[in-house]
Symmetry: C2
Subunit: 314 residues, 2 copies
């Protein structure tokens, strides 16, 4: 896929008012970039999270969704901001959000107990403290459908890589952790109203265009003096297929790193395939009382540090 084909995909599949309302984000992202470049941030991360939904009608009552809580993206953001990085999180409306997810995941009884307690539990006190300290380094951008997701991801990528002069000297990483639907229904084929039939319903989905190579091109052609890492995630259910597909994605999408997750253990263990050393992946295992996202972040930041001191890749 080329950038022009992607532009045609958007003009064919996005409502005009959707496009206009999304364009406000360019200004907000550039303002955010100005602010964090003036602060003491060590770098800027663009993280995507959640699952994308696919409407079945123009005035949509029904959607195809995919199973994703957004916890990976939320965890990565939490670990990045405490390491003094600024983060833009492109998240689905239903995704778990950084920091507040601790309260959101509580059952109602504990939720109200925490809410009314004069002294918060240590877990809640800790996340509230971290949120307050770092909230100005966090920009949340919500999306709903798969088309909106792709549009916003390209818009923000272009803004931070090519529009924001102030970011030229700041290391950046794009962590594409959202679970993107493989299928969608083109707008021209969408039923206008709620589909109704007494004899079942047959739906044909088209393939969502593969856009990561377009984003990689935008990301890697930025005129900058510092490290710019492009990281994608691959989720499968079989070890062997996971390795094959992760290695394939390294070249297919021209990314610097593929984080391979097996569905059954994605919170416990990941394998990191680097573009320059695909044959010797880094295996990360969650430590007791720690998170795997924290290890992923440390591993990536070490690489960026290494690049900066000239000890990194050839």
């Amino acid at each position: 896929m080329h950038n022009d084909d992607l532009s045609r995909f958007f003009s064919e599949n996005m409502a005009v008012d959707g496009e206009l309302s999304f364009q406000q984000w360019e200004g907000k992202v550039l303002d955010f970039a100005q602010r964090v470049s003036r602060g003491n941030c060590k770098g800027l991360a663009l993280v995507s999270s959640g699952g994308t939904s696919v409407p079945l009608e123009m005035n949509a009552v029904r959607f195809v969704t995919n199973f994703s809580t957004g916890s990976r993206g939320a965890g990565l953001v939490e670990d990045l901001v405490v390491r003094e990085w600024a983060c833009i999180l492109l998240h689905s409306e239903s995704a778990q959000l950084p920091f507040r997810r601790v309260m959101d995941n509580m059952d109602t009884e504990r939720f109200f107990t925490e809410l009314m307690a004069p002294e918060k539990s240590s877990a809640v006190a800790s996340i509230v403290g971290t949120y307050s300290k770092y909230k100005t380094r966090l920009l949340l951008v919500p999306y709903r459908t798969v088309v909106d997701y792709l549009y916003l991801l390209r818009l923000i990528t272009v803004a931070v890589c090519h529009r924001a002069e102030c970011l030229r000297t700041m290391p950046m990483v794009l962590l594409a952790a959202a679970a993107v639907s493989d299928y969608f229904i083109p707008r021209t084929l969408l039923s206008e109203h709620k589909i109704s039939s007494n004899d079942g319903m047959t739906v044909h989905f088209s393939c969502v265009p593969k856009v990561l190579n377009v984003l990689s091109d935008i990301w890697h052609t930025a005129d900058c003096d510092v490290s710019r890492l492009f990281v994608t995630f691959k989720l499968e259910t079989h070890d062997e297929m996971l390795e094959t597909k992760a290695l394939k994605n390294l070249t297919l999408y021209n990314c610097d790193l593929v984080v391979a997750n097996k569905l059954q253990e994605y919170k416990e263990r990941v394998v990191m395939y680097w573009r320059d050393t695909p044959g010797s992946p880094t295996v990360l295992q969650r430590p007791p009382n720690g998170s795997i996202e924290s290890l992923i972040v440390d591993c990536i930041l070490r690489r960026i540090e290494c690049d900066a001191t000239g000890g990194g890749r050839s």
Copy 2:
């Protein structure tokens, strides 16, 4: 649809471990019935809320969902408990929950401000007070798929109508406010793993069985001495079709009341079609600073009061 057909539908479409884990709810519902019948509750409401999801694979990664926030059901429950009714809420996992939805709907900044404030805002203080006072009168039962929803709704209906002797003298109302998917994929036709294809994807959905008449039979054949109302909801986008379909549902599902909602104004105005006076529906309009759910509840409770004093239906 007959009750036996419905049992066959469950045995064909539900995983065995799903059925076993759901059966625990019978005991919990009966315990709850015992507790509230000993208290001073004026009646028991069974409310359903949220949208149902339809898995596209056996090990489901993708689902068809419908657009429903669950706010109608949450509002009905809030208004019922303050009027001294006990409530069982059968809600989708993603539905808004009574009381805590006020906090859940806040943006993150306001959420954390409320969380840490020594003095809560009046809106939050009010819902926390109401929750604390009435929480023992509230039983929340979560569901995920459309099949799970139908199974649990029948299980709870049978439990409160036919198993719980203690409820024989307590007025009851069933408010079926959940948005139920019209289509699903039979288990025998489900792909075991994530569907994969390079040329799009075609999915055929079967019709979900219409079960409200089965539930109405269970509801209305209960051996009891008091009012038992069976209320369904109808949502459409055109006025005329809405009236036609609401009137049709009155007889098709043998319900006492159909609450007709037009999508464009469902939080502002509803039309209540009663079985015994279908030609003269009650129109409810949201008052300033009030909720439409509060009016729906008042209207239903007046009818129950009227039945109890013999001034009601013929």
